[in-house]
Symmetry: C2
Subunit: 349 residues, 2 copies
């Protein structure tokens, strides 16, 4: 594979850790990164260490879409905690995404590491790239099933522009969706896909408040709108009510529609749940994908994929995000445009 | 994905069962099948049930390359056990592969389900397709590491012709190689990939004598040439000496070079072993892929992929073979030619 220049939109936990992981990867050069107040571009390659140090407190709990300009729990506005703008490589800007789009002729892939509290937020970001005639890859790590349809609605637009959009390319959906698609290969009929995750997020909590907020929206009695409007204190209260350990059932995770659109099974046969523990860095339960199906010779069985408890959520999101990004670039360079889920980048079912 | 017309070269256990599995798959139409004495072609789609009934005793222990024309353990020469030629859809032929090549303008993909006792046998079959200007996919389920280099040497030839060659696309290498590539995504550095398989092959033994023969070649003290020259009785003697349960260590399985060429790890960090039990249909051990690596945040862990003991070797070879075939067709239609391993069809590492 040839070299890949990529950009990161958003420098919260996922954006920053992806930049860090890319330092370990061959052929990947980060050339642009932005948050809501700043943009850093260097087509020779960003100095990731410097940028990470500058953005270390860039926790962006609200994903940059709720309390713009606030300082409580958002990006610090001054000193070394001012986000991307604090980097010596960066410029302050009012139009960070447009600034990256302006440079996109020389960018092969863009990781959209922005929380998606408004369901059409990431689709609308993609629209802006398409409107600018971007030819390259967009990758996101979104979770919500309903967003996939919004992206599929844009297939023609992506094809006209030359965009290969890889959606749901984190851990779940992402790594685990791909594992389900692969585990399904033993069977001719899939009865059930169960995705069960464990996340221990004590020391990583500050860095992943956006993710936790989005998880809260999956709890009974809460909507995505509720979670977006809640203050950080209200989020803390919910967590405290669960003594810091929250179990989720039947989450709206896009694994279901991503497996269905790849022809693996019906969306309704996919269940996603898990346990989040913010009191410990140990995982409260082992992350497992179980695929139950029937073989051509009439046997029923369950293939399983298990992540070691020692692998952090960050490792399981950021490695796959870059892995799918590479797969997307390969597709893009072969002239394949449109919307791809993780399971579309696996052997066909 | 659009409809795919495919052919099968060889109607031993793998070829026949792949035809059977394809009946459960959308968009896959088998249009040609051959063994050494017969060829069946129907561009509207073969009658698989009839063909399977006709070839049921087509055990081809020697893979069609050793005792041509013999009747001991090879294809029966008359009646309903005469192989493909016994099918009402087929014609007898002296040149079965050439006959399929003659039809290949209308064939999207060819599964090469021939044993590869001569290491260059499958590469030479590919040469014949390339010489005829075939534009499409070739898929094999070969095992030996050294064959991959022979295929890579032909990359230019494949690209000139328009061939996408997907190699090692069975269970191992194949499904398990892909699982290893996916499991590696949590890590930035891979320490070790261990592939361990269990096969219970009592009722399926007659149908898979070629596979067993090839396995014997992996035993200490035996070479591939030994295994090819041995009579069926000599093979039986080896099996009896092990009381029907043979354990294999450090097998030369192409998983190693396929993972290395995909950039996942060094070939020497991959080990393949397993247990074959011809006295039972139960698996003697659980087939498992273990990938041990280091995460970006410095943790060491082992991700695992396990196949249910109820899934047969056949299910785990034939599903993936067709899955990778579909992935290969997609690549081919996008204009991507050359040699692809299973891990090349996964997210990049």
């Amino acid at each position: 594979m040839d070299d890949i220049n990529f950009a990161v939109l958003g420098t919260g936990g996922i954006g920053r850790r992806t930049l860090e992981v890319s330092e370990h990867k061959d052929h990947l050069t980060p050339v642009a990164a932005c948050d809501r107040h700043g943009v850093a571009v260097d087509h020779e390659g960003l100095d990731v260490d410097e940028l990470l140090a500058a953005t270390e407190a860039n926790i962006a709990s609200d994903g940059g879409t709720a309390t713009r300009g606030g300082t409580d729990g958002g990006v610090k506005q001054s000193g070394q905690n001012a986000g991307v703008a604090a980097s010596v490589q960066a410029e302050p800007t009012e139009t960070p995404i447009d600034d990256v789009i302006d440079e996109s002729d020389a960018i092969d892939a863009v990781l959209v590491a922005l929380p998606n509290f408004e369901h059409d937020f990431i689709p609308r970001v993609a629209d802006r790239f398409a409107a600018a005639g971007y030819e390259g890859v967009l990758v996101d790590v979104l979770k919500r099933s309903r967003v996939i349809d919004m992206l599929d609605d844009r297939t023609d637009r992506f094809e006209e522009s030359g965009i290969t959009f890889v959606c749901g390319a984190g851990a779940t959906p992402g790594l685990l969706t791909g594992a389900a698609a692969l585990a399904a290969q033993s069977f001719v009929e899939i009865d059930e896909v169960e995705i069960w995750w464990g996340v221990g997020l004590k020391s990583g909590y500050e860095d992943n408040r956006g993710t936790v907020r989005e998880d809260v929206a999956h709890l009974d009695g809460y909507t995505i709108e509720d979670a977006r409007e809640m203050s950080d204190a209200e989020i803390e209260t919910v967590i405290d009510e669960h003594d810091g350990v929250i179990e989720f059932e039947d989450m709206e995770h896009a694994d279901d529609v991503l497996l269905e659109r790849a022809g693996v099974c019906d969306a309704e046969d996919v269940t996603v749940g898990g346990i989040l523990d913010v009191t410990s860095d140990e995982k409260p339960t082992t992350t497992t994908v179980s695929v139950t199906g029937t073989t051509f010779d009439g046997e029923t069985g369950t293939n399983t994929f298990e992540l070691d408890d020692a692998t952090s959520m960050e490792a399981n999101v950021n490695g796959p995000a870059l892995g799918y990004l590479k797969a997307g670039v390969r597709r893009n360079r072969a002239g394949e445009y449109g919307v791809f889920g993780p399971a579309d980048l696996m052997p066909g079912f």
